[in-house]
Amino acid sequence: MYNLRRFILKHHFVILFILLEVISILLLANSQRFHRNRMVNTTNDVVGKIYEWGSEVGNYFRLNTANEQLAEENAMLRQRLSVVYDIDTSTYDISEGDTLYKYIPAQVVNNSTNQANNYIIINKGKIDGIERDMSVISTDGIVGVVTDVSRHYASVMSLLHSKSVVGVRIKQSQELASLKWGTNNYRYGMVEDIPTHILLQQGDTILTSSHSFIFPADLMVGTVEEFYPTAIDALNKAKIRFATDFATLRHVYVIQDLHKPELDSLKAKFQ
């Protein structure tokens, strides 16, 4: 016992170092395995608040652009509404039961694009009806999936994450493929598992597929930037440019799938 104590005292620096490193690596391994940042959950409100202060300063400089963008989107939606229902938009009332999805507007309070795994923090949380696994989109395209929720804030795993996989389809041919980040550049993603007979060209549109249980179908994902045909029998790849500009992301919508409980209970029956 005496020897042990002497040993610990003598080598306390190295022992403490190893201990702290082991803790770090365990924390890191844990967070990567579940690819959810659990630790953020407990402190999310504090962290969220600090980020919100930080982003409020920047927000004033971007008000003009944000307003323009939102007005444009408004006009586009009004136009689309009148086409779909072929009626005067001002008198048509959409009731709760008519819609499949509920859109919750939120603001980005923190966003990174330069890590290997990027998360976005938004200023809506549990009390606003945000739940885990809800999808997040911007005016231009899809953004990510909610991974953690605290009272007033939520963290979103962005498409710029090594574990992010989204079911997508090619607009022209309806063929399914899957989207990963895989480029480490915030502008581009990789569409993988494209069937061999499909040849894509620059500018082809990629949308979300209806098979993705996270995103609603037919949302804009991006356009093909470069197509990589591979050897026979292998599946093709394509580099795409994200429709969403992650660098300037400010206003997003969290989508609540109103039929999700029904779908989940149906899925549970088969498992």
């Binding site: 620096f13 170092f17 844990n30 967070s31 980020y51 330069n114 998360y119």
Partner: protein, 171 residues
């Protein structure tokens, strides 16, 4: 000012500067500068070794809270704190710091501090980017990140320290 209070303020300011400002710098996707390391670099020479480790761990974990990467910065910063005594010994040889309370540019000179900062940043970034990718597959990218980020971090750190050095003289 009280020494401990100064250290606490330094800690908080550097973490906030890192997560609210520096983390939003985008230079081509490979350059990720980190300046919060200044806190560990400027700790007094007389700091007990175990305190270096605990402070390094706490500092890294604080940054991790904001970036949502538990253990990543904590691991890298702890390693850097572990290496600090050896680095100081390596670059100063038999030089004694009897009248110098903590590493600073004014008393030790820019060249000494540049070597010090460069080595510390190199160790930190090496650990950080390898831990981050968590695989040997992306080794090319990781090395490129290290190669590009180390000079930028070192440059920013030296710049910040020079700014504060002149501030002190004016007071």
């Amino acid at each position: 000012m009280n020494k401990t209070a100064l250290q606490i303020i330094r800690f908080v300011v550097l973490v906030l500067l890192q997560v609210l400002v520096i983390n939003h710098i985008r230079l081509g996707g490979y350059v990720h500068p980190y300046i919060y390391l200044i806190f560990i670099m400027l700790l007094p020479f007389s700091t007990p070794k175990w305190q270096l480790l605990v402070l390094g761990f706490a500092l890294g974990l604080s940054v991790d809270l904001f970036t949502g990467t538990p253990g990543l910065h904590a691991g890298a910063t702890t390693l850097m704190a572990f290496c600090r005594p050896s680095i100081i010994k390596l670059i100063s040889g038999n030089q004694k710091f009897e009248n110098i309370p903590e590493p600073n540019i004014g008393q030790l000179g820019g060249i000494w501090f540049l070597r010090y900062a460069l080595l510390m940043v190199l160790i930190h970034h090496f650990a950080l980017f390898f831990l981050e990718s968590f695989s040997i597959r992306l080794i090319g990218q990781v090395l490129l990140r290290i190669l590009l980020s180390v000079p930028v971090s070192t440059f920013l750190i030296m710049m910040i320290l020079y700014i504060f050095k002149s501030e002190k003289k004016r007071e």
